[in-house]
Symmetry: D2
């Protein structure tokens, strides 16, 4: 009984995910950073098998995860040799890396999009993939609105679609042709927040989690805001800077990708406080020597009782990729659980804890500690009333 | 329909409580810092009337709250003149201020303890007091264990009892003689954590909330620890310094009072994380110019997935007294609700959110965000299963 | 014996300068924030008289400094009524405020540039102005290179000149026509760093100090870098964010003005360390509720002995305008001293301490503590060898 | 031409000093953290030879520096094998480690103090020691006042003398018997601040530098205070906490050792600002997992121009021992230079930069950047007027 995973984007997150899992299986590390490590989930972390990876960086295509890991990781410990079994295959490009210094090519540069989709499906079938995880570099993407529009866009050559949308489409098709599967979208491209994707997944009996894995400063900010809200303090302003030196921060120096990110980060203020306190919350810059360990600085000012004004200052140095990798250890297991339960479309109680911008559309970001309670209740099979998270009752898009 | 309050210790907390309430009634400020301001509680903040105050500082006894406020507050705004109606009467001393620079005297310096208790009871009755709030300066106090021991200690002259215990005893007697009432213990002296107090309150049909109002750095630390626990991160160490310039910090420079405080602050680590991460969490010092706005510095180091090590640094400048005063606006209303409901003894779902060391004895400190959920469920009348907060089921000491 | 000052830009800096001086004269405040307050300078702070002010904001033109101060300042203290004597006259526009929300007009909108210059000169002469201080909003400006080019640009209508250049040209002309005077350039526009300005000032027997008053995070960063350099530590990287809510930060959200600022802030790294440690040092954003009290966050990582790696984190909340106003109290007095000494052109030992980008061109930024020593030696009349601050000996452009 | 060093206290500082020097000689690391690394000093770092070490920890005596280093260091790099040549011999005990968990013995436990002194002198002569460096654990010590009192105290059995005093006495005797040498006192015990030590060293033609190597938070605090002083800002208060996990912090949990340290740290406020701004500057605690990388938190509040109030917050993680080891690379070379120049007693221009409490007695602590200028001038042979650092002219205690 295993969870068979295909991973999209063989970068730092994928590498930490693969390496961390193997080290955990070998007993070298604990399951730190894996929220439901010891939980009642029917799958254990050691049940996860990464069976294939995809990338569009020409330097990675055709190699294996072990070779890539040796280039990317430098933590003074040995790379598990079992990673040699994970091939890095050519993925979908759609010019995702345009503007970054990487030389890239994709299946879609060699064939039309529908053929590319078929190629992916074949590869997934032969490897009996259960869950596809999307951790490609942040890219621009627009929601499609309906399943019909989504299908037509692919049939029409996919001109304005993001790579993530193509992958997500392939997963929906794969579910129809070969049995239900799940897609975990850990980047900002709106998938679980796209009614078109959700409708298609409902029709095709597939599961999607998303969008944008909740690591870094955002969950911490969310919980601090909840801390204020629970005491009815009036937040005067919030500033949150963050800077890093990995590929993702490099991509964010491109304005349109940054705008994508800012959206998911900034909505939490109004969602949690109930009013839009003045805020500056943005990925701020790129500085190479910071590497994957980003630097966050935060400042908050609030009104307490009897007109008293307090101040809060926070610094953090956070290893971005391992944090997300730890969440993925849960997400792929939860994804398979959702498939088994037959809960097609997306699952807000999962997204609310793990994602920066939890789908479906129209649902609020909530403090992560509140999301954690929701999650635990969903896992234990409780019926959860979601009305307080939205004006209209939550309707799961199910078959 | 009002909540009539007697306040013990006419210091900064009492003053902010009284001034803030009057400003709120006059529409000058919002109810910021009052967690349940807008809730479904049957009493509103404007229903609270402070009807009498007590102190042992010779400079305060015989004056009124308006005169004291003019000396203590300097926030550039006018002091509400309605505070002239609150007399500051002579309270219980028991040498509470020994070692501090204040000249003090109490009822117990002029008569024996039982007579002092009778005096208090008479004063409370004539003012129809519902709730007594304890915000005297931090003092040393030991739990008594049984109602019998408590009664004997008072009868024997109260030699080793703290002033808080005498006051709490008076409230229990007052409940028996004149009808049930409640005691809100916002300082560290163990009352809600003393089986002797709880037993007596059960017998006398009285309510006590405590111990030690959860303001300052502790609730923030608790929620940050919960943030780590929910992600299964392994905390390597925690350092938390804090320093202030008010009377309470001055008192904490006396070793035995400091020890009292350290206990309530430090237990949260093991309680929330489930293991005793190495920590240094102490009230650190006194520096006059900081005044009532304390300074907190915190540092935490933790292990994330795949062996990644992250760091977190927090600074805060927090107005101590207004924060506690804001909580009291809830606590006195909740106390009257508990009396009406007839839930004698103490109420863990209230204490867990509002107190640093929530009684009854044997119950865990929990993250404040978790406590907040408990509180909301208690307020809305839910039956709350408390077994997960303790090895044995919670038995309310009720009549 | 007084120092008669015309001030350009009746904003927050000018207001704090004027208000602070009057409060100091009235004995209400000490000379805190004035580096040479108690020094051997022949002029005391109380010798300074602001005799006229200029602005292009239509809401300010024609009013007096008292009226403007009442709108801008809100520190709970009274505005000195002596400020009613300072008229706010129409200044030079040159579209300085383009892109900001202010409605503006200038002399140059009503007449040609040479006539505008003559108007200024006449106004200055009638008020016997000794020193002109430039604190207009940050604007874009390019160096001119030669006195000839400068003269031709003005004669040709001043099309590409900044408002600061027009003002500086007027001061040079004023010096020739009515006797030597000085120009203090406290904003980033390159004047003391423009060989054209320096040549003209040398010819016309005038003094200029500049550029960009050293307040905020930059001097602190400079001294911290010097702290590292003096211990031969190898700085791995430096991040410095800053955000504010005053007009200057609003202007910096316009890319070309930001670029102007970044240049002066960022050169200090190489100048002080001797190597260009990777850095991100930028005015980062605008957030209105921060007002004039900006927020700075900094992070530095460095290598100590035997490969040890240390980290430094700094937060600051700094009142921007009063800090600069305090420096101006020195700069106008030093400017008059330089005029009396006949040291035409610019004075590096003054600029090195007070300016972010000390002129003349080709000279290094140095740590402020090193600049302080230079300054003290210049004030006391020492001959200062400046060769170590530049490859070629410093030649003052004197008559 | 070399500098031959005996090191007292084979702990982390000694180990980093020895290991760092060997790694530098081997070209593995740069001279980062060595202030005068590339200076005109006649000795280079590679000229330093550690020829013997001393300790009283039974686990170290009889071993060599290589063996000790393997136990103490864990930085993932190999220990240089050349350290096997440095024997760790039994040193002076005087109950220095009383109260700490180490089992200790010293020469003075096996013979009387004068014999112990003779033993040291013989060992130093046979190894042709030039400079003795004192880096034993912080201990209590009182100044002696006169050379006579010092001699008598040793002759009388040394009952109340610190181990440092015995070592310092041995160095003075060694200088008389076998030629001038120098003692670098990098711990708080007052030696360069003891007129008795200075008189003896003057008579015996020896050099002492001290006291308490300026690493950690103190130099940074000093430079930040100077930053305020140079701008005439009025500091409202300063808080500085620091906590670490090495032997030195463990020792500081003993009250009398802590008092020793607090004295040297706290005097800088008045010395640099010229007034005693309210401050809390103390070694605050011990927490094992912090190890040798201490944690510092600082907060400062100051008044700028026109009544504006600013705030500064600083966090640092500092590797304590390597920082001091880096300074020692200079100090032993400067010590030999002082011996060659024949400047007996102590040298304020050296101490002012490198020491927390620079001797001789009566001299002020100054900002380190000011001390750096003094140092450079002393190194280059300038005659330095020291009157501004003291009420009376500096008289070097020379033969």
């Amino acid at each position: 009984m295993s969870v068979r995973v295909a991973i999209l984007g063989q970068g730092l997150v994928a590498t930490h995910f693969e390496v961390g899992l193997e080290r955990f299986k070998a007993g070298e590390i604990g399951a730190h950073g894996v929220p439901l490590a010891d939980s009642i989930l029917p799958y254990k972390p050691e049940d996860i098998d990464v069976v294939v990876a995809y990338d569009v960086d020409e330097k990675k295509i055709g190699r294996n995860a072990y070779e890539v890991a040796r280039d990317l990781l430098d933590d003074g410990r040995e790379i598990p040799r079992t990673l040699k079994d994970i091939d890095v295959r050519m993925g979908i490009h759609m010019e995702t890396l345009k503007g970054t210094p990487f030389k890239a090519k994709g299946l879609d540069d060699e064939m039309n999009v529908e053929e590319a989709v078929d190629t992916l499906i074949d590869e997934w079938r032969s490897r009996r993939v259960d869950v596809v995880v999307n951790v490609i570099t942040t890219e621009h993407g627009e929601p499609l609105g309906t399943a019909e529009a989504f299908r037509e866009a692919v049939a029409g050559g996919g001109a304005n679609l993001s790579a993530s949308h193509i992958y997500a489409y392939a997963l929906a098709e794969y579910s129809t042709r070969h049995g239900s599967a799940a897609f975990v979208n850990a980047i900002p491209t709106p998938l679980a927040n796209d009614d078109g994707v959700l409708e298609l997944y409902g029709q095709n009996r597939a599961v999607v989690f998303g969008d944008d894995g909740a690591t870094g400063a955002t969950p911490l900010t969310a919980d601090l805001l909840e801390h204020m809200a629970e005491r009815n303090r009036k937040v005067g302003f919030i500033v949150q800077f963050n800077i890093g030196g990995n590929t993702d921060f490099l991509a964010l120096t491109l304005p349109e990708k940054n705008a994508m990110k800012e959206l998911t980060k900034s909505s939490i203020v109004d969602d949690i406080l109930g009013y839009d306190a003045p805020h500056y919350i943005k990925p701020t810059g790129y500085l190479k020597p910071l590497g994957d360990k980003k630097f966050v600085a935060m400042h908050m000012d609030y009104l307490s009782f009897n007109g008293a004004r307090d101040e809060l200052y926070v610094f953090a140095r956070i290893n971005d990729s391992p944090a997300l990798a730890g969440l993925l250890v849960d997400l792929v297991r939860l994804a398979k659980v959702a498939v088994i339960k037959g809960q097609w479309g997306t699952i807000y109680p999962v997204n609310a804890f793990y994602m920066k911008r939890p789908g479906p559309p129209g649902y609020r970001s909530i403090a992560k500690n509140v999301g954690y309670e929701l999650l635990k209740r969903w896992v234990s099979g409780d019926i959860v009333d979601l009305t307080e998270f939205h004006g209209t009752p939550f309707v799961e898009s199910s078959s």
